[in-house]
Symmetry: C2
């Protein structure tokens, strides 16, 4: 909890100099600010004295989550007990020095703490304020608890994450990550930059702050392609297709002799002809059952059975080599170990070793996305200790050591 | 194919006045520009005379995909045969009048057509150029065919889209949408706005264009939370967890009496106590097997069996009502029909009826994300016919009707 010297390296990337105040926790808002910080923004994250609970999410080493090393990277952490009556004024002072505030409390909660939009803008009228929530800042679901799995199901994604009806009694899967939260964070980052451009651009800027209202549910629905248009025009309800794509064949995951899977996509005429030849069954390409995409879709069960019978005679690695040699798009399904070793990710700096004193050894982290070729962002430091920058940031507000110590004694920071 | 009068409504939203040139097809680049156009940008989409193939993807009505109505909305379409020697000069002229070019050809392909970065910037040195590709503009996988299902598997997502090992012989699922492509498009939109802010901002702008290199694989990996850090620090390879969350219980999808599923998340002490009471089994909250989250995780099979036995006595709708009354986060799993009828989506303008002459009736579309409360974007018009704005856009380059007719006769447009 003690104030340590900031580990800051100089900011790099297109957002260097941008000041962001995060009133966030868990995934959505902190993911949003990670993206901004990766491109160079100065993100000040306000945490309760006990820290963001995500610091202890997932697997732990001595109470520290490796995930935090990445999730909190490039940010400065200050503690503030927002329930203390003196906290709101400090937040307003911080907001006055910021370009953007990002928050993901339940709608209305900041307002009740004296930190509604007007209060945040008191010292910075052109502040961009980004609210991220489960269901949005208005509407009948506004006050519901925002769990990612709920939003993903409401947005239409979970329904498709299943095998076709009648195939299994197992439930539709969660896709293994909090995709709805991260999507909301990513939409937030995009919207923030759009608002800043309009505010700040030399000729077309209007100098106005803007207010974003990003909902996890909306973010999921925005990704759902033809789901709504097809239902509206045709009345068809898109159904889960398991490992396949409903409109193209063959494309699926196929079982290999070693018990793992190979993904291949041979759903064009030349690709399918090459696959048939590779399987030693060149006649399949001219077989009326498989002669074009509609025929292959109509006979996809038999088609996939034949392909699976072939892949089942090979290890996945051998199968992958043969498919690559035949120039047929295919891949093994990468686990964490394969991702970490992947030569393309290594080449592109997408798997990096980051020194982290919390673990006494480098932590593997994903690199910076998007890659700005001529002005790349950077991983400047890993997720800091709780409140590591409290003294430094409050010092920038003009508070001296004694004032900070007094706030600490009062339980404000 | 004829030039129709532009259906343009006045641009609304923070990106009004921004000029974007799309050299895109399929999903990633067009999704990126849809996001920009939704917030008000003027997007000119260059298509081959036969049109973007996505116009015929998914379900069709008289050869028209309802998806296109949403995917192509708010854009102007011009046709250009990029293989014709006269096309490159027109693209360069269009680029000279643009703030941004977004493209998703295979790496190097535009260069071979005389449309590399330097050529695109010939008349607009500060152009922002966004390249979106499967694997990125460099590295050993650069030239591989970029299928979304491949990138999702390489990025670590597909591995987690499965039931736990030993549960089923079915393959890991594709999540039902081209999530990797859309993620790359969304990261592209964020990066573009970051680059534009740095270029254009009044005080801190540097007037420089920037080059983005967004890979589908990188975009997927960027979302994978603790996958890499946990592997790096602990050597643990994250494994699929099916319908559950590996670190919290109970949270899963449970079978109901009507054959559908209910999602619930009761993975805190008060929530679990309320669930146990609602199930008529209040003693479970104090049962040593379920007394806290670690205990519930250790006994999750038995816990989920007990919950499933209870949900199995109720219809999903009844179960949902009871859970809501008990203030336990839960939801039915929304299909397209449920999404379309959802009162929250309707309230927030996230399900809209858009007039579309291609279908002679309104098309349901997802609304604009992010919602900018004080300057919202808009759905100004649905995806246009191929080349609907060819004459209009070429006219803005100073080409008269006769010149456009000549280009058409030559097969350039």
């Amino acid at each position: 909890m003690s104030d340590i010297a900031s580990q800051t390296s100089p900011a790099a990337g297109p957002l260097a100099g941008l000041r962001v105040l995060e009133l966030g926790h868990f995934v959505a808002a902190p993911f949003c600010t990670r993206l901004l910080a990766d491109l160079g923004a100065d993100v000040v994250k306000v945490e309760p004295p006990g820290g963001d609970p995500v610091r202890q999410w997932g697997q732990l080493v001595d109470g520290h989550a490796p995930w935090w090393s990445m999730h909190g990277r490039n940010k400065r952490s200050i503690t503030l007990n927002l329930k203390h009556p003196k906290a709101a004024a400090i937040v307003r002072d911080l907001a006055a020095r910021s370009d953007v505030v990002v928050e993901n409390f339940r709608p209305g909660q900041l307002d009740r703490m004296g930190l509604g939009d007007a209060a945040l803008r008191a010292g910075r009228p052109d502040l961009v304020v980004a609210h991220i929530s489960g269901f949005g800042q208005d509407g009948p679901y506004r006050d519901r608890a925002a769990f990612g799995v709920i939003g993903e199901a409401l947005g239409g994604l979970r329904h498709l994450c299943n095998h076709p009806a009648g195939t299994t009694d197992l439930p539709p899967i969660r896709i293994g990550i909090s995709i709805g939260d991260s999507l909301a964070g990513l939409y937030g980052a995009f919207g923030i930059m759009a608002a800043l451009w309009r505010r700040d651009a030399a000729r077309v800027g209007d100098g106005r702050g803007r207010t974003l209202d990003v909902a996890l549910t909306d973010s999921v629905l925005s990704m759902m392609e033809g789901l709504l248009p097809e239902y509206g025009v045709l009345g068809t309800v898109r159904q889960p297709a398991g490992s396949r794509i409903p409109t193209a064949a063959p494309t699926s995951a196929y079982p290999c002799a070693d018990g793992t899977w190979i993904v291949l996509a041979a759903n064009s005429q030349p690709l399918f002809a090459r696959l048939a030849a590779l399987m030693g069954r060149p006649e399949l390409a001219a077989d009326p059952r498989f002669v074009d995409n509609p025929a292959r879709l109509a006979n996809v069960e038999e088609l996939d059975r034949l392909i699976g019978a072939w892949t089942g005679t090979l290890t996945a690695a051998d199968c992958d080599r043969r498919l690559e040699a035949a120039d047929i798009p295919a891949t093994l399904i990468a686990s964490a170990a394969a991702v970490a070793a992947d030569p393309q990710f290594r080449h592109r700096g997408m798997v990096r070793e980051v020194e982290d004193p919390a673990f006494g050894r480098p932590v593997l982290q994903a690199g910076v996305v998007p890659h700005v070729a001529d002005d790349p962002g950077a991983i400047r430091w890993p997720g800091p200790a709780v409140g590591a920058h409290t003294g430094e940031v409050l010092g920038e507000l003009g508070l001296g050591e004694a004032a900070v110590a007094a706030l600490r004694a009062e339980g404000v920071v």
